[in-house]
């Protein structure tokens, strides 16, 4: 039976590859047009009403979740997957504590943006500020990004000298430490009580908010998908540069890379910091949208889920990890029947993927970039010295 499934899987991947080939063979303007159409579709998704596709909506089943809300979660997870993919897929560093950065981003906006937070209250007392004062949302975004980045560097500096399993263990510990600190430092984080009244783009949650409210989630999704698109663009730029090549080289043979002039520590630290910043920003979006966070939301399970998104989707390939993230966020919402067995289903899916396709559902096909003219040029060159 496994053989039959392998056979099926192989034909599926071949089909994927031929689609990819055809895609690459299209003229550039057609590709850009298709890409624009896809982006438009992404923005249209929360309004989805095309007959024949409405069954995709999670509110098409009784008691289903808010459709835009699910889309928002998907977008945040995709952001996480893209960030984690830089660390695991590109630089080859197994980070099991990614939730830590997500939590740091979330707590950054909570601690500095909410009137509820002890930190803000401290500032109010010290500097005689009005009780409604808090750091504005946009500045919180910046703080979240920088805090996550710095924590990535602080964690990476001593640990990136470790290799493989050791790094995984240390990062796993890091994720737990952040959660436990958040629970125990009640004077700063209000511990298990959590922090409410986390602001959105229009300030603290209130019924006056016109766009980013708690009822209509669509604007939140549009905000998140915009961030995702920007980050995809940024990570693509890195992938196709000297930096991306250095990451790949380190992943494949660190010692050989060093002898070829790549400083592994520097590029590993960059990967870690960029991944951390993306994870932190995802956490920031998550906290702003729900307006309330507490430490239980950042447990190890979620960290493992993040790694699962990358591994199932296809480590190293941005399309792959995004699909992995969407699948793992969307399927339990749409198919409520399996929601109770969610972890069992994940477990089974993971085992199946590992047996059939250890590279992930949409594996990264390391293909030379568009160098057709160069290949033609090469044919004229003599084959032998």
């Amino acid at each position: 039976m496994i053989n039959k499934m392998r056979e099926l899987d192989r034909s599926r991947v071949n089909a994927l590859h031929s689609v990819a080939d055809r895609w690459k063979a299209l003229p550039k303007w057609q590709r850009s047009l298709a890409f624009v159409a896809f982006v438009v579709f992404l923005y249209y998704l929360p309004l989805l009403g095309i007959p024949g596709l409405t069954w995709l909506r999670t509110d098409s089943i009784s008691g289903g979740s808010n459709w835009a809300g699910v889309l928002f979660t998907c977008a945040v997870y995709v952001l996480v997957a893209i960030g984690l993919n830089v660390v695991i897929g590109l630089a080859g560093l197994l980070d099991l504590g990614y939730i830590g950065f997500f939590a740091i981003g979330a707590y950054a906006v909570a601690l500095f943006g909410s009137v509820n937070s002890p930190v803000v209250q401290y500032f109010q007392r010290e500097f005689d500020l009005p009780p409604t004062w808090a750091v504005t949302w946009a500045i919180c975004a910046f703080i979240a990004l920088v805090m996550a980045l710095i924590s990535g560097v602080i964690l990476g500096w001593p640990t990136l000298r470790l290799r493989g399993d050791y790094l995984a263990i240390v990062t796993l510990g890091f994720g737990e430490i952040i959660r436990i600190v958040a629970r125990n430092m009640e004077g700063v984080t209000r511990g298990p009580q959590g922090i409410a009244a986390i602001p959105g783009p229009e300030g603290p949650p209130s019924s006056d908010n016109q766009i980013f409210g708690l009822i209509d989630i669509k604007p939140w999704y549009w905000l998140a998908i915009t961030v995702v698109l920007l980050m995809v663009f940024a990570v693509r730029r890195l992938e196709h540069s000297r930096v991306g090549r250095s990451w790949l080289a380190i992943r494949e043979d660190e010692d050989a890379a060093a002898v070829m002039g790549v400083y592994p520590f520097k590029f590993k630290l960059w990967a870690f910091a960029i991944g951390a910043a993306l994870g932190g920003f995802a956490g920031f979006l998550f906290a702003s949208r729900y307006a309330f966070i507490d430490p239980t939301q950042f447990n190890v399970n979620l960290s493992i889920l993040f790694v699962a998104m990358v591994v199932v989707g296809g480590s190293g390939n941005m399309v792959g990890v995004s699909v992995g993230a969407v699948l793992l966020a969307y399927l339990p919402e749409r198919f409520r029947e399996i929601a109770d067995y969610r972890w069992l289903a994940f477990g089974l899916a993971m085992v199946l993927v590992m047996i059939l396709r250890p590279q992930g559902l949409i594996p990264s096909r390391r293909r030379a970039r568009e160098l057709k003219d160069r290949a033609a040029e090469a044919e004229e060159a003599p084959a032998h010295v």
């Binding site: 930096v243 160098l371 090469a378």
Partner: protein
């Protein structure tokens, strides 16, 4: 040349090559111990600029270890390595690579999933500067040379206008350093693939290349770092005589490019055919150092390594 006095007494006294060849690399009394094992014992030799130096010796004599000390993979227990007068010992491998020492590996160590071209580009990257901010924001502008400006190819219409706008934009504001470096890296890498004769498979993943191509790709990648000194660790292992003959020509052409070559090789026919001078190691110590003909007749070398005089083999 003045250091020749320090060779062990039994080694033949070979007159140094005529001409004022400068010393490129100096291995100065390097000792390396792993636990109780002495891998290198007070090894001392130098490499002159522009020569092809052979490094031979029985298996386990310390030849590859010597490479590892020179390229910063191992740190010697005592002694030092100097490259163009600068102390190399204690520097990290990537720093040494930037100073101008590059190498290939005995058991091929390419980046298997990357294409041949990308493998070489990792090498050429070491001469470039773009890092994360440069690749992300591309703010660093460089004034391009005329041939580097975007071309206007369309004959008319909107496309042509767009291309003209791009060209004049690049003229006024320059191009990002990232883009220029990418192009330079690609061109250089392609040139090197052509130089070693494997350009026809530039886009294939290194792991899918035939064995002989992989060996050549290692050389191209090492040349990508623009070395002054190239260390080749058994580049002809597993080659048949015809392939070895090709390699011999390649090594000579590398030297003619102005790169000094240090060669570890067991095939004496190849070593005798291409090297200007030979250093022989045994049990981590230097036992001979001199011109190929003299070394191949040295009784100690014959006893330790050749088994019979090389020209009879």
């Amino acid at each position: 040349m003045s250091d020749e006095t320090n060779t062990p007494a039994a080694a033949p006294k070979i007159p140094a090559q005529p001409g004022p060849a400068k010393t490129l690399l100096e291995v100065d009394n390097v000792t390396l111990r792993f636990g109780g094992v002495v891998a290198l014992n007070e090894v001392k030799f130098e490499i002159k600029e522009g020569e092809i130096l052979g490094l031979i010796g029985p298996n386990g004599a310390g030849k590859t270890t010597c490479f590892n000390v020179m390229t910063g993979v191992y740190k010697p227990t005592s002694g030092s390595v100097r490259f163009r007068g600068e102390r190399v010992t204690g520097r990290k491998p990537h720093q040494i690579s930037r100073l101008g020492i590059s190498r290939t590996f005995q058991n091929i160590r390419l980046f298997p999933e990357m294409s041949a071209l990308e493998n070489v580009m990792v090498g050429t990257d070491s001469r470039h500067k773009t890092s994360v901010p440069g690749a992300l924001f591309r703010l660093r502008r460089v004034r391009p040379k005329p041939e580097e400006l975007p071309e206007v190819t369309a004959s008319g219409g909107l496309v042509r206008t767009w291309q003209q706008v791009r060209r004049s934009f690049a003229k006024t504001f320059g191009l990002s350093r990232h883009i220029l470096e990418e192009r330079a890296a690609e061109d250089k890498a392609m040139e090197l693939l052509r130089f070693v004769g494997i350009a026809d498979r530039a886009n294939d993943a290194a792991r899918n290349l035939p064995y002989g191509y992989q060996r050549r790709l290692e050389i191209a990648r090492a040349l990508g770092t623009e070395p002054k000194l190239l260390c080749l660790d058994e580049p002809a292992a597993g080659f048949n005589p015809a392939e070895k003959e090709d390699l011999l020509g390649l090594i000579r052409r590398i030297r003619d490019m102005g790169v000094t070559v240090l060669l570890i090789e067991h095939d004496m026919r190849l070593v005798m055919g291409v090297t200007d001078r030979i250093v022989v190691l045994e049990f981590g110590s230097k036992i001979a150092d001199g011109l190929p003909e003299a070394v191949s007749r040295d009784p100690r070398v014959i006893a330790a390594y050749l088994g019979e005089p090389a020209d009879a083999a």
